[in-house]
Symmetry: C2
Amino acid sequence: MRIAILLYNGIAALDAVGPYEVLSRLPGAEVVHVGERRGEVRTCAGTLGLTADAELADVPDPDIIVVPGGRGQTDLMAEGPVHEWLRGADTTSTWTTAVCTGSLILAAAGLLRGRRAASHWLAPGELPALGAVPCEERVVFDGKYVTAAGVSSGIDMALSLAGRIVGDKAAQEIQLMIEYDPQPPYSAGSRVTAPAEAVAALRARSRFAASPQ
Amino acid sequence: MRIAILLYNGIAALDAVGPYEVLSRLPGAEVVHVGERRGEVRTCAGTLGLTADAELADVPDPDIIVVPGGRGQTDLMAEGPVHEWLRGADTTSTWTTAVCTGSLILAAAGLLRGRRAASHWLAPGELPALGAVPCEERVVFDGKYVTAAGVSSGIDMALSLAGRIVGDKAAQEIQLMIEYDPQPPYSAGSRVTAPAEAVAALRARSRFAASPQ
C-alpha cells in the first residue's frame, strides 16, 4: 500500500506529519514524500525543512494521496505539474485526501467537483468557486475523497481512514501507540467554541475573504 | 525567544512537529532545529527526513529546549555530546521540555533528578533508574521542566506552555489557528480507555520491560 504525501514550500508541517504519524503505522504501508523536485522544502514559518524523497513522476499511482495545506497552497492553485500529477494519481488511487487548505489544491485540480469538502475554518468560502461544497465538519468522507479541517485535524482524518482500511482494532492500536488522548488546555479549537475575540482576531489577519457564516 | 528542537535519527516526527506547530506561532519565536550534525535526520520509520539547521554548539543557550522521543532515543541514553549540550543549555533555559521517550533522554542527562516526569505510557518503568519520578499524566510541569506523554501529547504540552509564556488569550488564538478541536474516532488513546487487547498487544511488542501498573 503506497501512500504519497505531497510536500511543497510553505507547507504547514503538522498538516503532513499528523497523517504521516498515523498512516506510516499501517501494516504494509510504504510512505513516500513527493515534491515537484527531490530535496528539501521549507514550512510556512521557514524554520523546518522536510525532505521530498521522490519527484511527482516517480510516484504515478499511489494507493493513497495526501495533500497538506499551508500558506504555500496559494502557489499551487494554478494549472501545472502538481495538478497534472494529482489528476493522474487520482485515476487509480483508493483514497484521495487533503488536510486544511490542501482541499483547495485538490479542488483547483478539478477533483472535488460536486463533492462535499472540509478545509481550514477560515477558508470554506474559497471552495464553491472551485466546484466543491464546503462542509464545516472535522473530517468529511465523500466517496473516496476524504478532507479534513485545519492543520491538526489530519490526525483525526488519518485515524478514521485507518479504520476504514484495516478495521477498528488495528486503528485503535495506532491511536494508543501515538497516545492520542487529546487534552487541550482550552476549548478554543473551533470557531464555535473559541472566544469571539480570538475568532475576530484571526479573521482580521486571514488571507481569505470573510466567509458568510 | 529562541526555541531549540532537538532532532536525531529515529525520531518520531509528530513528537517534534506537534510542539513546533504551536511554539513557532508564539510572538517573537525563533525556532531552530538542532542536531549533532547539520543536515537531514530520518524518522523511526525511515520514510521522512527532517533538517537539523544547526549543530548543538551553534545554539548553546536557547530559551526553550524541546527533546522529542522515538525509537532512536535508545541511542541517546549514554553520556555524549547531546547530554553535554542539554546540561549546558539547561543552565540558562527558561523551559526545558520533552515529549514521549524524550523524557528518558533528559533524565539520562541528569536533568530530572527527583522531578516528576511524563513519558510514553509504555516507558514509565524506565524513569526511576534515571532518578525521575514517573507520573502518568498527559502534561507534567515540575518547575521549569515540562514533560509530556506519548507522541501526540506534545501538542497539548506546547499549548499549555504557550499559555504560561504569552497568556491564555494568545495561546487560544494559536489553538484556533491550528484548529485543534480533536475528535478522534475512537476512545483508544490511553491505556485506561483503550480496549484491553490493544494494550496487551502493544505491551507485547514494546521495547520496554512491562511497567508494574
